[in-house]
């Protein structure tokens, strides 16, 4: 009985720790946590090797660690608590979940189609497994439900938020007017073409180079729709192709590993 309780104890703490790691991933705080892990490792090594002075210094710092953690991880702790409070598992993997995903794809496709027809420039990034919080924090946080009208309103020329990228997390518009890293080293056969494309398309490639996100760009000049994935740009695609790619991508986000994608955490 006590063995079973110990296992439950360990599993619960593991789940809490794992959820905290998920909140930290993609944020700068992750490197702070790595630094703290290094200090703990040094402490353990000093205890093991009986390095009295080093151990005493690090033990002296220990009482302040909890205050440092609260101060350094203030926003992450807030996200963590709100994450624990949200009932994510209620959505589950159900038929209604799938319909919801299809609806989201249709909302995005509808917005992109209209922007393409009216030559409105747009850049939409769909987060997958790699956290994009650093980029989200560079823009204006929205946390709105994905809808065609909201996307059109954001990218409307002259609107406050039209300059920059919109980042989507599942069925939410996480933020607008986000700054993205530019693809800085256009080399090879398509170098000249890429240079001609401009900032929006280079940002679309840039954000997908280090992440597994999918970026959709609409050209202001030509109205052409392009998709960036893993640092590769697929230009001038049809609406059907866009729908196909988005469905595939969103299935990877919520339903589990398709071919190269990953699923939402527990």
């Amino acid at each position: 009985m006590s063995m079973a309780l110990t296992v439950v104890d360990i599993v619960v703490v593991t789940i809490l720790l794992y959820n905290f790691v998920l909140v930290l991933r993609g944020r700068r705080a992750m490197s702070v946590l790595s630094g703290m892990a290094v200090l703990v490792a040094i402490y353990v090594a000093s205890a093991w090797l009986r390095l009295g002075l080093l151990r005493a210094v690090l033990s002296g710092l220990a009482p302040y660690a909890i205050i440092a953690i609260i101060v350094l991880f203030q926003s992450e702790l807030r996200s963590y608590l709100s994450r624990l409070g949200r009932v994510r598992w209620a959505r589950g993997v159900s038929l209604s979940g799938r319909l919801e995903r299809r609806e989201i794809v249709e909302e995005i496709v509808g917005a992109v189609q209209q922007m393409s027809e009216t030559h409105v420039g747009a850049l939409i990034v769909l987060e997958r497994d790699t956290g994009l919080r650093t980029f989200i924090e560079s823009g204006v946080v929205l946390d709105a439900v994905v809808s065609r009208d909201v996307l059109l309103a954001i990218f409307h020329p002259g609107a406050q938020l039209h300059d920059g990228a919109v980042i989507l997390q599942g069925d939410r518009i996480a933020a607008a007017a986000c700054f993205l890293p530019l693809h800085v080293n256009p080399a090879g056969a398509h170098a000249m073409e890429l240079r001609k494309l401009g900032t929006r398309h280079r940002a679309a490639i840039g954000v997908t180079e280090g992440t597994d996100a999918l970026a959709v760009a609409v050209s202001e000049e030509t109205g052409a729709i392009s998709i960036a994935w893993r640092g590769e740009l697929e230009r001038d695609i049809s609406i059907d192709r866009l729908r196909d790619r988005l469905s595939h991508h969103s299935a990877g986000v919520r339903q589990g590993r398709h071919s190269e994608g990953a699923a939402q955490p527990i």
Binding site: T6, D9, I10, V13, T14, L17, Y18, V21, L22, R25, V93, D129, Q255, G256, R257, A262, A263, P265, I266
Partner: protein, 39 residues
């Protein structure tokens, strides 16, 4: 007999991080037990 797909996903997704968290928790637990025994 294979596990249902949602269960498979639950286990295999982010497996590295899950194992790292489990390892950290077990180490913490062992350290607490060692500290208890010392007392």
């Amino acid at each position: 007999m294979s596990l249902p797909r949602p269960l498979q996903r639950l286990i295999t997704h982010n497996l590295g991080w899950k194992l790292a968290c489990l390892a950290a928790t077990v180490l913490l637990w062992l350290w607490l037990i060692a500290a208890d025994n010392r007392v």
